[in-house]
């Protein structure tokens, strides 16, 4: 018997048992649920949300387990827990790129039977990108917790001082950064022009895809087959090479991970950054922030004549297929993925809402004025390839990009490496 079949059989048995148990659920002893979240996804805010849930749901206690800071670190841990079919976790926060892989590995409990007749109505409320990301082969694998996309963060004060308008193209960005650096470097030798993820981590996949998409390019065709145009790939990489030649990006960009960009900007050492939504709240509210009220957020640049592009990001909540409290876990999931919690997160953590209406909420806009324009960006964001073998896709792109940004591989070598490794996976 294969592992897959064994898991399948267990899932069916568990489903039957769960349905039988739910009838008598009310009479049962207090339930303790355990939820896994990442260190960078604001566990403090999640705790507040869960306290509210506990208040409203007598008999249920929810514990938080906090994992690593990056998506990769979290997934490495979860891979060992779930591959060994451990039932310790009930609800798990997963990156938007994971549902297909989780569906194939049968780690997430499909939610269709729990949602029942409500299923389509529930899913229709979300932004389209999140509706699509969480439904794999017609089955609902997870519900969205918060949305995300990459934006161009910039120092409003420095741009105003040097009469520079927020750049719309990569060339404008490089020119603006050079102009400001030339004038400000003497006052702050640590000041850098523009930073993006370059370490061998998940975010570096977007460092390649964003400029590729920003010229109308694509990595895969409609069938999910590799369709990387060499000339477009070369142009995307040449943009980064140009930034390096002009000393706009930090010399050690190949060592930079997502939160390092936030730290550098927060310390006042960056003019421009390609960064996710969470950073805004930290810039505005952290005690050590040097840039409170000095940051602006606009869509990322593109190549002249093309629409801006960005990666769909964001985090979903899934019920572990090995949980022993699936009914209680699904109820918690429904709460975590509600407009009320979406609003709480938007205000407390600048987590982008997964419901279109929450963007118009007055309190949300008071905390995040830039959310007014962010909905359009999130709605136009593109998904990284959707495949159960995404970890291999990610690894191929980020490792090649990391070598390229470190200056150890040429543009053509980098594209050849990527193509060679992606061809057998994306077919």
């Amino acid at each position: 018997m294969t592992i897959g079949a064994a898991i399948g059989r267990r899932a069916i048995l568990a489903g039957v048992a769960g349905a039988a148990a739910s009838a008598s659920a009310q009479a049962q002893a207090p339930t303790t649920l355990r939820i896994f979240t990442g260190g960078q996804q604001r566990p403090d805010v999640m705790r507040r949300v869960l306290d509210l849930y506990q208040e409203r749901t007598p008999g249920v206690r929810v514990e938080i387990e906090i994992g690593g800071a990056t998506s990769d670190q979290q997934q490495q841990y979860l891979n060992t827990v779930l591959a060994s079919r451990d039932s310790a976790l009930d609800v798990i926060l997963i990156d938007v790129i994971r549902p297909a892989q989780w569906a194939a590995a049968r780690w997430a409990e499909p939610l269709d039977s729990y949602l029942g007749a409500e299923r389509d109505a529930v899913m229709a409320r979300y932004l389209p990108a999140y509706r699509e990301a969480n439904v794999v082969a017609g089955r609902v694998m997870a519900l969205p917790y918060f949305a995300d996309a990459q934006f161009l963060y910039f120092r409003r004060d420095l741009l105003a001082k040097h009469q520079v308008t927020p750049p719309r193209t990569w060339d404008e960005l490089a020119a603006a950064a050079q102009k400001i650096l030339a004038a400000e470097s003497a006052a702050n030798p640590s000041l850098r022009g523009f930073s993006a993820a370059g370490a061998p981590i998940e975010g570096t996949v977007c460092t390649f895809l964003v400029p590729l998409w920003g010229m109308g390019g694509t990595l895969t065709d409609a069938q999910g087959k590799l369709a990387l145009d060499q000339a477009q790939g070369q142009r995307a990489l040449a943009m980064w090479a140009d930034m390096r030649t002009k000393n706009v990006t930090p010399a050690n960009i190949a060592e930079i991970a997502t939160d390092r960009i936030r730290v550098d900007m927060q310390a006042g050492n960056l003019i421009f950054a390609m960064q996710w939504g969470y950073a805004w709240n930290r810039f505005q509210n952290d005690a050590d922030s040097q840039v409170k009220d000095r940051i602006g957020v606009v869509p990322l640049p593109s190549f002249a004549g093309n629409a801006a592009a960005t990666c769909v990001g964001g985090w979903q909540v899934a019920v572990s297929a090995f949980s022993k409290n699936k009914d209680a876990a699904v109820k918690l999931l429904r709460f975590l993925s509600s407009p009320e919690v979406s609003k709480m997160q938007a205000i407390a953590a600048s987590h982008l809402p997964v419901f279109p209406d929450v963007y118009d909420d007055a309190e949300v806009l008071a905390a995040n004025p830039w959310f007014r324009d962010a909905r359009a960006v999130v709605m136009g964001a593109r998904a990284r390839p959707v495949t159960a073998r995404y970890p291999e896709v990610s690894e191929a792109i980020r490792t090649a990009m990391n070598g390229f940004l470190a200056g150890t591989r040429t543009i053509d070598q980098t594209l050849a490496d990527m193509t060679q490794r992606l061809t057998p996976v994306l077919r």
């Binding site: 592992i3 891979n79 060992t80 050690n252 190949a254 690894e395 090649a400 990391n402 470190a406 150890t408």
Partner: protein, 298 residues
């Protein structure tokens, strides 16, 4: 046949001996033999959690794939570079430390503690500490370079420098273990040998060369075996310092195994890679062991 006959008392003794060995045997087979057996079995399977529908027996396909995989060879090459640099590095540094610790200090504990600390530190912590040392903007190494008027170096994103930085961290971490082994060896050398050499007029260098080194040989071989096996398994320090980067340049075979199994969930192929790593370990260790046997024979 006659000499093999044993009395009932002796037979009972043997039975008791076997009985007393059973718990250890059971424990060993459950934590050593069973995992190795499972690994070998998994290595003959197609078992990729992202493609569960393809699962099944595939014979030696995974091994053939490894021999055809440039990344297997490049990570093996990187591993061998780590072996070639960090094994002699740790032995030399460890020998120096052991000789130092063997000096007749009045207060011995600070020296011993200094020897034990790096050894007691978890590998990943050592990696994270050295990563901060070599960090580009805030690391002490670049701080020192700047202070001396040099340009900072991209220690962790230049292949050769990243190799150098990770090797330094590994040598720092592992030399203390070598030093402990060698210190034990040094203290077993009878003082009378040195006295006799001094009477014969041997210089300190001659005493080291002709008394200390030959007497220390068994301890050095033990240290070499342990250090070589752990060097073949190098994982934690480059993982924490560079993540294998830039590109694949500091990725060891153990890191490739980890990536294949834990990140990609390709258990079949990952097991085949791990089995190959095991074979390489075995081959290198047997060379040393044959060497020691020859020593004992002569």
């Amino acid at each position: 046949m006659a000499q093999l006959r044993i009395g009932p008392l002796e037979r009972a003794e043997r039975r008791l001996g076997l009985l007393l060995l059973t718990p250890a045997l059971l424990l060993l087979s459950s934590v050593v033999l069973y995992p190795i057996g499972t690994l070998l079995w998994t290595s003959t399977q197609q078992m990729h959690l992202a493609q569960p529908w393809l699962e099944g027996f595939v014979g030696l396909t995974n091994y053939a794939r490894a021999l055809d995989d440039p990344r297997f060879w490049s990570s093996l090459g990187t591993t061998l570079i780590y072996v070639a640099i960090t094994v002699p590095g740790a032995i030399l540094a460890g020998l120096g430390l052991a000789l130092l610790a063997n000096l007749p200090f009045r207060v011995k504990w600070p020296v011993r503690l200094g020897l034990l600390l790096p050894w007691a530190l978890p590998l990943v912590f050592a990696g994270l500490i050295f990563r901060w040392f070599f960090e580009y903007e805030q690391g002490v190494v670049n701080g020192l370079l700047r202070g001396l008027g040099f340009a900072p170096l991209r220690w962790l994103s230049t292949p050769e420098l990243a190799m150098l930085a990770t090797c330094l961290a590994i040598v720092w971490k592992s030399s203390s273990f070598v030093a402990l082994v060698l210190l034990a060896g040094l203290q077993a050398i009878p003082a009378s040998l040195y006295e006799a050499a001094a009477v014969d007029g041997a210089s300190p260098w001659q005493r080291f060369r002709h008394v200390t080194l030959p007497m220390l040989r068994p301890a050095i071989v033990v240290a070499l075996i342990f250090r070589t096996i752990t060097a073949i398994q190098t994982f934690d320090i480059p993982y924490a310092m560079t993540g294998g980067g830039p590109g694949h340049s500091t990725e060891t075979l153990a890191m490739y195994v980890h990536r294949t199994t834990i990140d990609v969930l390709d258990f079949g192929y990952g097991s085949a890679l791990a089995a190959l790593m095991f074979l390489i370990s075995l081959a290198m260790t047997s060379v040393y062991i044959r060497q020691t046997r020859r020593d004992e024979g002569s």
